[in-house]
């Protein structure tokens, strides 16, 4: 079992080199906590690993196979949490979650996922009445939906997932991540430190991205 490996990965945004020559190796059952100053390229790295952004050079392997060989298979194994919560204000919590579950071919029974983040009482409430923290919980509940499905995503890419969460919700998130890791999953989590890091410290490695000084490309 090899998990996720990157070789000499680099990324250019606009005309600026964000990071370059990045070698990573994460074994199944482990998490990588990614820290670094603003602009150090954490979000770009997440997007490159998800396949949302093409790498300028280098390549990414999953279980020993280059992901560019089968992008569809790679997309199917990724669960991505970005900065925004992709939820529609006029739909209820259940409808929002169900849509993503169905689109991804996951288990459309979403109540257990709502329980996992203690928002089951909001199941039939439209998102427009949610607070920022509640929206984040619902977004994270997508991870639980994948977990409760037969062939859920194995690679979790969480870009500052704990933003706006209260301590209780951080624990729920930590438990969800730990369950994923104990299931031989891989998680990469960008963070600015805090309780989440402590809660999963035993299963996690750390990496600090340095702000690239190489300036421009070309």
């Amino acid at each position: 079992m090899q998990g996720l490996i990157t070789y000499k990965l680099s990324c250019i945004r606009g005309e600026r080199s964000v990071f370059s020559g990045l070698d990573l190796a994460i074994k199944p059952g482990r998490a990588l906590l990614l820290s670094g100053a603003n602009g150090s390229g954490k979000s770009s790295l997440m997007r490159v690993l998800a396949g949302l952004l093409p790498a300028a050079s280098g390549h990414i392997e999953w279980e020993g196979e280059d992901i560019s060989a089968d992008p569809d298979a790679h997309r199917a194994r990724v669960a991505y949490i970005g900065h925004a919560d992709p939820l529609k204000p006029s739909l209820t919590a259940t409808e929002n979650l169900q849509f993503w579950a169905q689109l991804y071919g996951l288990d459309p029974v979403v109540e257990p996922a709502l329980y996992q983040f203690s928002i089951e009482h909001l199941a039939d409430v439209p998102i427009r009445y949610f607070s920022a923290g509640q929206k984040r919980r619902l977004n994270l509940a997508r991870l639980a939906v994948g977990q409760n499905s037969l062939a859920g995503p194995a690679l979790w890419l969480l870009d500052e997932p704990a933003t706006g969460l209260d301590p209780g919700a951080v624990s729920m998130l930590a438990n969800t991540i730990l369950a994923h890791l104990s299931n031989e999953g891989v998680a990469i989590i960008s963070t600015h430190g805090g309780r989440l890091d402590q809660l999963i410290a035993d299963s996690a490695d750390h990496l600090t991205l340095q702000t690239s000084r190489s300036g421009a490309a070309g």
Binding site: G14, G215, A217
Partner: protein
């Protein structure tokens, strides 16, 4: 062929070496072309001296079409092979295309006043060029609409290909519309049957315009590359 010029620095060097020659050739061709167009060719028996407007109008129309084709080809190269010079070539050519379409429209209008009695007639050709003018403007606006210049270049490349597919459709539609709404009895500003007295200055001017386009393209591409280098220096200085 493209990969020989792939390196922007090498391109700049080659462009710098070619530029004096192409600029000189442009000026020489213009002198010869204008001489033939103004002095060494006869006036039209119907339109008189105004027919000489054609020697600017028709080559500009050719170049404005060729320029859009050039942009479309460069866009395809930029999208398929992600070639950085292709983006720059497309971006540099678009304002030239606007200039040439504008010349077509203005000369068409100048010719229209004595010939048709109005500054503008909804002639099929002129109307198609007017739509082309707006396609160019859209392309430039989209190129510059983003904070990330690369995003602008790629979006404009997709637009250029969509526009390129649409140009024949627009042309066909405007022709159909024109025959419907206007009996085609008006004289057109157009290259008539191959009369050598007219064809020689026309081709000479077309060659001069082509050389001018090529020279300006090189200058604009080099300036664009220098701009990118300046931005890069500023970025690395800021970090």
């Amino acid at each position: 062929m493209f990969h020989r010029f792939a390196n922007p620095a090498r391109f700049s060097r080659i462009a710098t070496r070619i530029l004096p020659w192409s600029a000189a050739a442009t000026i020489a061709m213009f002198i010869i072309g204008i001489y033939y167009a103004l002095f060494a060719s006869p006036a039209d028996f119907q339109q008189g001296e105004t027919v000489r407007i054609m020697y600017v109008h028709v080559p500009s129309a050719w170049i404005s079409m060729a320029c859009y084709t050039f942009i479309a080809v460069m866009s395809a190269i930029a999208l398929i092979w992600k070639h950085p010079l292709a983006d720059i070539a497309a971006r540099s050519a678009a304002p030239l295309g606007v200039g040439f379409t504008l010349i077509v429209l203005i000369t068409g209008s100048l010719w229209g006043k004595p010939t048709w009695g109005t500054w503008w007639v909804w002639d099929a050709r002129l109307t198609s060029v007017l739509v082309l003018f707006f396609l160019y403007l859209g392309h430039i606006a989209l190129t510059n609409a983003f904070d990330n210049p690369q995003r602008g270049a790629r979006a404009a490349a997709v637009l250029a290909l969509v526009g390129f597919v649409n140009i024949p459709i627009i042309k066909f539609s405007v022709d159909w519309w024109n025959t419907l709404h206007q009996p085609a009895s008006v004289t057109r500003l157009d290259a008539p049957a191959i009369d050598p007295a007219i064809l020689t200055p026309l081709l000479l001017m077309a060659l001069a315009f082509t050389l001018y386009f090529f020279t300006m393209l090189l200058i604009r591409m080099r300036a664009d590359l220098n701009g990118a280098r300046a931005r890069a220096l500023r970025l690395s200085a800021a970090e």
